[in-house]
Symmetry: C2
Subunit: 145 residues, 2 copies
């Protein structure tokens, strides 16, 4: 098992790709995005529809249409994407699947995993969608392969 679902992996990579293009003033089509992050085009389309409905990204139809992202959305944390796609089980759920994570009735891993969960949330909350644009432009960071 990976940390995120496949859907969420695609979602984060795609949003970062769109963000990167958006700061260059370019709207980008689904075909381009799918190629840019190496994901199945039609599946990704579904994911982006969902993110668009939820207001994380924007889109326009027709010629010269495509996906883009507003400056205010650029400032949103990555945790917003994760929460929209995978929910918040990663941030609040019990590591061993107990119905309720709590210090009152803790599972054996409670203390140590609470710290890890908090660190995961911290990383995803501190880093915004726009955080990585410079390194993406410079080709230091990768979204495919």
């Amino acid at each position: 098992m990976a940390i995120f679902s496949k859907t969420c992996e695609y979602a984060i990579r795609a949003v970062l790709y769109i963000a990167h293009k958006s700061t260059l003033g370019i709207k980008v089509g689904i075909k381009d995005i799918a190629a840019g992050i190496d994901s199945p085009e039609l599946y990704l389309a579904k994911i982006l529809q969902d993110l668009s409905r939820k207001g994380l990204i924007n889109s326009v139809k027709g010629p010269n249409g495509g996906f883009y992202i507003s400056d205010t959305s650029l400032a949103r944390p990555l945790s917003d994407i994760v929460e929209a796609v995978d929910g918040n089980a990663l941030f609040t759920g019990c590591a061993l699947g107990l119905k309720q994570c709590s210090a009152v009735n803790p599972c054996p891993l409670h203390n140590q995993f609470k710290a890890i969960r908090d660190q995961i949330y911290q990383v995803l909350n501190v880093n915004t969608i726009g955080t990585f644009n410079e390194e993406l432009v410079n080709g230091i960071l990768s979204l495919k392969k």
Copy 2:
């Protein structure tokens, strides 16, 4: 998405339950385990068959039979269970699903998630199957609800 698959959650809870009973010198049947960790009995049976084949736990058939765990297995780290069930994607895979996690071709989250991955491994490697027995006996820790 949770950190572990449902299968892995059941596996860890069940192994800790068996370990707890084993240190009391008791072999325990599938029905008892399933009740003790609140999991579907027949699904858990499949999981334990697998762990038994892989040598993490032991079993005997017939009257007074059931599952138990050897002292040497009690000393094995929890990471062995996770690796047996979920593989090692959690420990070595790219957070964003790139085919290969590497510092040469890093995804945007590489550095920060490498640290988190290492911490997860650390926790699971330091804690053995037998680590929690005392607190389980004392009822301080919980494996169900």
